[in-house]
């Protein structure tokens, strides 16, 4: 049976209000916002959605793999309720602030440990560090071809036909299997979850692996030296005056021309 592994990262909700986002500059990491539950990185949800679309039409098994310092079980249960067959957590206190090179190595080791696979799906980049590297590491370490920024995948005769989003259209790329495919928002959002499915998923055990189950070592290839807020707060806002909205519009045009912006 066709097997798809979807790598999903749990991140600080990227849709959280800007005003709530704080950086701990000393420790070079964001302060987890109080009262904002973590979520799957949105592109990883797109990847899962594409896997489930394939599962809708052909017999296939979807396994979700999520690694981190702490992976909340409840989020993985959501993936199961959406239609994934299995979920595996790879969790270790040491998996804190790993660089993409170490992350890819751990995920590749975990995928090797899982049974045979035909496709590995990831998001194009995670919504926290936006590195956009991990997919490539998995593909290279497992010696698979990769197709990036996909919006749809069809399977036929032991190959996958991938619609790849490029700036001026859609490329159609055929790849041998096994292959890695990375996804973007063009896939569409992850399907909703029904209450009965969620209740059923809550009863499922989710296997948990640790560092000792996967070989892991810090790569030391990249180092985060500083994490800081972009200078946006200091923008001096000039609000155009006007007794009516139309007049404000006229004044806005005058102002922009005076500043030589047009």
């Amino acid at each position: 049976m066709l097997t798809i592994i979807v790598c999903m990262k749990v991140v600080i909700d990227p849709e959280m209000p800007f005003s709530e986002f704080r950086i701990d500059r000393e420790r070079r990491k964001p302060v987890p916002p109080a009262g904002v539950p973590p979520v799957f990185s949105p592109f990883d949800e797109n990847a899962l959605e594409c896997a489930l679309k394939i599962k809708d039409s052909v017999e296939c098994r979807v396994t979700v793999l999520s690694m981190g310092k702490m992976v909340p079980k409840a989020i993985l249960q959501k993936a199961l309720a959406a239609g994934a067959n299995e979920a595996v957590i790879i969790e270790d206190p040491e998996f804190d602030n790993l660089d993409p090179f170490s992350t890819a190595q751990i995920l590749a080791a975990a995928i090797r440990k899982l049974e045979a696979y035909d496709l590995v799906f990831t998001g194009r980049q995670a919504a926290d560090w936006d590195s956009g590297l991990v997919w490539a590491g998995i593909a290279e370490m497992l010696d698979m071809p990769a197709v990036t920024i996909a919006r749809n995948v069809k399977l036929s005769e032991g190959k996958a036909l991938v619609e790849r989003c490029v700036w001026d259209g859609i490329e159609l790329i055929e790849t041998q299997l096994p292959a890695l495919i990375s996804f973007s928002s063009e896939v569409g959002e992850l399907r909703g979850v029904t209450v009965p499915a969620l209740i059923k998923a809550k009863k499922r055990e989710i296997p948990k692996w640790t560092r000792s189950d996967v070989e892991s070592q810090k790569s030391g290839l990249v180092e985060l030296k500083d994490l800081y807020e972009p200078e946006l707060g200091n923008v001096d806002l000039y609000l155009v005056p006007g007794d009516s909205f139309v007049e404000k519009g006229r004044n806005l045009a005058k102002r922009l021309v005076e500043e030589g912006l047009f």
Binding site: W167, D168, I173, E174, T175, S185, E223, Y228, A253, L261
Partner: protein
């Protein structure tokens, strides 16, 4: 490995010239190369006319190289990566720069893993550094909520650069040189993918002008309906600019997804970005924060967009743009505006 190597730019051509992205890489790489006292090398993979490739010298390259093979006629990462890996291994550059575009974010990460080299994508600044990292790479993280300064161990260090982060390098047509063709040995069995075909986006010309326009008028949820798109289009046309939109506008089907500005869409950096009915979510701002001037038109004065804009107008956007357009027409008749675009 010897870390005194050159700075290598992965080049792309557009018609008979360097692509705008590549010209920007020549600026970014040129500054670094000068700082570090290194050679600036430019490489074109795939069919490149030597006349066009030679222009690389005009943009400041010390050496321009081409690598061509029948397998490289259409772009496939599997085929492009082979010569790229060979050449980088032989040349031993200290730094390799890509544009952060369809090819750059497809190739740079895999090249990095093949060479066991550090990589940072989507950089907006490159800062020379005195330590062994040679350079610090600054990139937006957390959807643009923060910036990270990274160093990479090398050689090589691999980076992709965000479009618009650097001005294109100046072109000096008197500078010419010899384009060096490199010989390749491609292993066909390692090409595991096949290019089947391509459909071009029907909104291509609009998407094209969006990323290159000096003025962008962009609409958000506050447009309220599809009609609003025609209103911002009118303003954009008057200014010789392009239109774009935030995700809700695309989700509602008012604009095609190729015109979406934001983290998941186009990243634009025009001289003037006019945000109409856009609240200023991080997802959206990640796509336009590099604009020189952000102008906000919004009925809600507490919207975050006003904290990120230099000039704002609070009120009904239809009436504001009505007055705005009328005044622009006026001024145009007076001959004070030269068409920009």
């Amino acid at each position: 490995m010897d870390d005194r190597g050159c700075l290598l730019v992965f080049g792309e051509l557009e018609k008979d010239d360097l692509s705008s992205m590549t010209a920007q890489l020549m600026r970014a790489g040129g500054q670094l190369a000068k700082n570090m006292g290194r050679e600036l090398c430019l490489l074109f993979i795939g069919s490149a006319s030597s006349e066009a490739a030679m222009k690389g010298y005009g943009y400041g390259a010390d050496r321009v190289m081409t690598a061509d093979d029948p397998h490289l006629e259409t772009y496939l990462a599997d085929s492009f990566l082979q010569p790229l890996e060979q050449i980088v291994r032989e040349l031993g550059p200290a730094i390799v720069l890509f544009g952060h575009n369809d090819r750059g974010f497809d190739l740079a990460p895999r090249l990095a893993f093949r060479l066991k080299a550090g990589a940072i994508l989507d950089c907006v600044e490159l800062e020379p550094s005195n330590d062994s990292g040679l350079v610090n790479f600054v990139k937006p993280v957390f959807g643009g909520k923060a910036l990270g300064r990274f160093s990479c161990s090398g050689p090589p260090r691999i980076a992709s650069i965000r479009e618009g982060a650097f001005e294109p390098a100046d072109f000096d047509k008197s500078k010419r040189g010899e384009v060096l063709p490199l010989s390749l040995a491609l292993d066909e069995s390692r090409i595991r993918t096949r290019f089947v075909g391509k459909t071009t986006d029907e909104n291509l010309s609009a998407a094209l002008s969006l990323t290159s326009a000096k003025i962008v008028v962009s609409g958000g949820r506050g447009l309220k309906d599809k009609e609003g798109v025609s209103i911002i289009r009118e303003t954009a046309d008057l200014l010789g600019g392009a239109i774009g939109g935030s995700r809700p506008v695309v989700d509602n089907g008012w604009l095609p997804s190729s015109l979406q500005v934001g983290l998941t869409g186009k990243k634009v950096s025009p001289h003037v970005y006019i945000a109409v009915g856009i609240s200023g979510s991080l997802q959206h701002m990640a796509g336009c924060l590099k604009s020189k001037t952000i102008v906000a038109i919004n009925c809600d004065q507490s919207a975050p967009i006003f904290r990120l804009s230099r000039i704002g107008a609070v009120g009904d956007y239809r009436q504001i743009l009505e007055g705005f357009n009328a005044e622009i027409r006026n001024i145009k008749e007076g001959g004070m505006i030269t068409q920009n675009g």
